[in-house]
């Protein structure tokens, strides 16, 4: 009988992705509520230091799987390796943070065992002693509660930022190496080196104040309105993906899952409806202000201050008020 929760720890060349600790935290919470032990798994080559780091968390065992075919991430090798880990450890629940890497292999892993990934959840609740997961549908406009159906193990991922990784409990774990047999013929992807494209990338993660603009701005020339507001507030200007896709602002100003993740003191979202992909990049901000004409826009779900109205009217007034404040 399967038992326990296993957490997938993501890393690049042995450097642990901090987001993985969010899954550790989730596993600790669910584990204590359902009386299950938590373990973690690292796939790669020379992952000793990373394993040691993870072992300082309150988990029972950190499993390491080292193999030359796992040196660089590929969906094919990870799926094979992880599946063998699951067969050996027999967990009831596989928990992950919903990163791009998890999105790439976890559905394949689950499908290889005729299962499905319950992906991108934003919370959970316990019903009849079992976890039920909450996820967003219709780009955050509605939420659903879903429960896995069928036998263990179940595969679950949580959206980045759902849990505080830095609040995961510390402890002392044993590190245990597992060996797997990888069929090299089955590893069909050959990745090249990772690279960044944007030249002289702006690092928005250090900006204390950010004014961000979305589709609601309608035309490129209107970006000037936002620039004026940002200048008046002494803030950096940023944008949601469609604005950068249109080249209305450079790519390195993009906030969200494919852009930068920020947590400024003030995040002022103008004409941004708040698709999940955007929210994950800014929901850690200390104070969020949203200006949007649609009162139902998901951005208001996470805003501290909401203004439902026409940005073309409100932004100039706000700029004027900010200028006044400066004097």
């Amino acid at each position: 009988m399967a038992n326990g929760i296993i957490v997938f720890i993501e890393h690049v060349d042995g450097k642990v992705n901090r987001a993985s600790y969010e899954a550790v935290k989730a596993a600790q919470l669910i584990g204590s509520e359902t009386g299950q032990e938590v373990s973690a798994v690292l796939l790669g080559q020379a992952v000793g230091d990373a394993a040691a780091e993870v072992a300082s968390k309150k988990v029972k065992t950190v499993y390491t799987v080292e193999n030359e075919w796992l040196k660089k991430y590929t969906a094919d090798a990870y799926t094979q390796a992880f599946r063998q880990v699951i067969e050996q450890v027999q967990p009831a629940l596989v928990l992950m943070t919903h990163t791009y890497e998890v999105r790439d292999f976890a559905p394949k892993l689950a499908a290889s065992m005729k299962k499905i990934l319950l992906g991108d959840n934003i919370g959970y609740k316990i019903e009849d002693g079992k976890p039920v997961f909450t996820r967003q549908v219709f780009q955050g406009k509605l939420a659903v509660d879903v429960a896995p159906v069928g036998d263990d193990p179940h595969f679950v991922s949580f959206q980045i930022g759902t849990f505080r990784g830095d609040e995961s409990e510390a402890g002392q774990a044993e590190i245990k190496a597992l060996s797997v047999n990888l069929d090299a013929d089955v590893v069909r992807q050959q990745p090249e080196e990772r690279f960044k494209e944007a030249k002289a990338a702006v690092d928005l993660s250090q900006a204390p104040l950010i004014v961000s603009v979305g589709r609601g701005i309608k035309e490129m020339k209107n970006i000037e309105l936002i620039r004026k507001l940002a200048d008046a507030l002494g803030a950096e200007i940023a944008a949601s993906r469609p604005i950068c896709d249109n080249d209305w602002l450079p790519m390195d100003r993009q906030i969200g899952s494919s852009g930068q993740t920020v947590a400024p003191k003030l995040y002022l979202a103008v004409g941004i409806s708040g698709a999940i992909q955007h929210l994950v990049g800014m929901k850690g901000s200390r104070t969020i202000v949203a200006i949007n004409k649609d009162a139902e826009a998901p951005i208001f779900e996470i805003a501290d201050y909401g203004i439902v109205g026409d940005l073309f009217e409100i932004v100039p007034a706000l700029t004027a008020e900010a200028e006044k404040m400066k004097q």
């Binding site: 590929t74 969906a75 549908v137 659903v144 104070t287 779900e301």
Partner: protein, 259 residues
């Protein structure tokens, strides 16, 4: 090069969504639909590959009769023919079920490249293409920004987090999930729409594809659907633009202490 592109029909982005009386899903009365955004970019990528390398583009959609309109839309933009997976057994499938149906249909058809969008704007599972790849025994790459063909197969640009990218080489046939915004979508023309009428749309059901009930059985259960609960209490500021601006600056200064 034979490319199959999967197109999902989803409620229009600006739709007003209402939960049905049973609280299980949304009311589909009064909804208008469109091609899922990233799928449209997948279609455009397919059409551009065909223009560059020759071959054929097949538009595939799964769902009730109404999804034929997205197939027709694709045919009007230049796809050569369509496949419509229609069966009451396909109602309310989860991603595994949809992946199963797509895998069966595309295997029967044969292809060099199977494209999907990276995720749907309704369920947002983001795994249909990957599941199909696994069931077909084919390699895949997700969140693809660019596709190159070479003698060895494919070289695709994958989007990573925090502004990183990575080229990945793979043999064909393969499955790719396409990111939104990677190309410029073309319009249909009226001539294209008229020409689409003469293009074939093949209908396939579960029995024809030899799909059994067990492989379509749900692997997850929707307990309930509801408006998201707020984590934060949003203070709404009202009044004239001037009033709003003054109140907001005051609150940011004295309440939130941002300045």
């Amino acid at each position: 090069m034979k490319i199959i592109v999967c197109l999902k029909q989803v409620p229009k982005n600006d739709s007003v969504l209402r939960i049905n009386e049973q609280g299980t899903w949304i009311q589909d009365r009064d909804l208008t639909y469109e091609i899922n955004e990233s799928d449209a970019y997948g279609l455009e990528a397919a059409l551009q590959l065909k223009e560059k390398h020759g071959g054929e583009v097949i538009a595939l959609s799964l769902g009730p009769a109404r999804v034929q309109s997205v197939i027709k839309e694709a045919l009007a933009r230049g796809a050569d023919r369509g496949i419509h997976l229609e069966d009451t057994a396909f109602d309310n499938l989860d991603a595994y079920g949809i992946g199963t149906a797509i895998a069966a249909a595309t295997k029967a058809e044969g292809f060099d490249l199977l494209l999907t969008g990276l995720q749907s704007d309704d369920y947002g599972f983001a795994q249909t293409g990957v599941i199909a790849a696994e069931l077909l025994g084919l390699p895949h790459t997700t969140i693809v920004m660019d596709v190159e063909l070479n003698d060895a197969g494919l070289r695709v640009k994958r989007e990573l987090e925090n502004g990183f990218f990575q080229w990945v080489n793979m043999p064909a046939p393969a499955v790719l999930t396409i990111q939104s915004g990677i190309n410029t979508l073309r319009y249909a023309t009226l001539k294209g729409i008229m020409a689409a009428k003469k293009k074939e749309i093949k209908k396939l059901d579960a029995a024809t594809l030899g799909i059994d009930a067990a492989s379509l059985a749900p692997r997850m259960e929707f307990r309930r659907i509801y408006l998201p609960q707020k984590n934060k209490q949003t203070q709404f500021i009202e009044g004239s633009a001037g009033d709003i601006a003054a109140k907001l600056i005051d609150k940011l200064k004295n309440e939130a202490r941002v300045f």
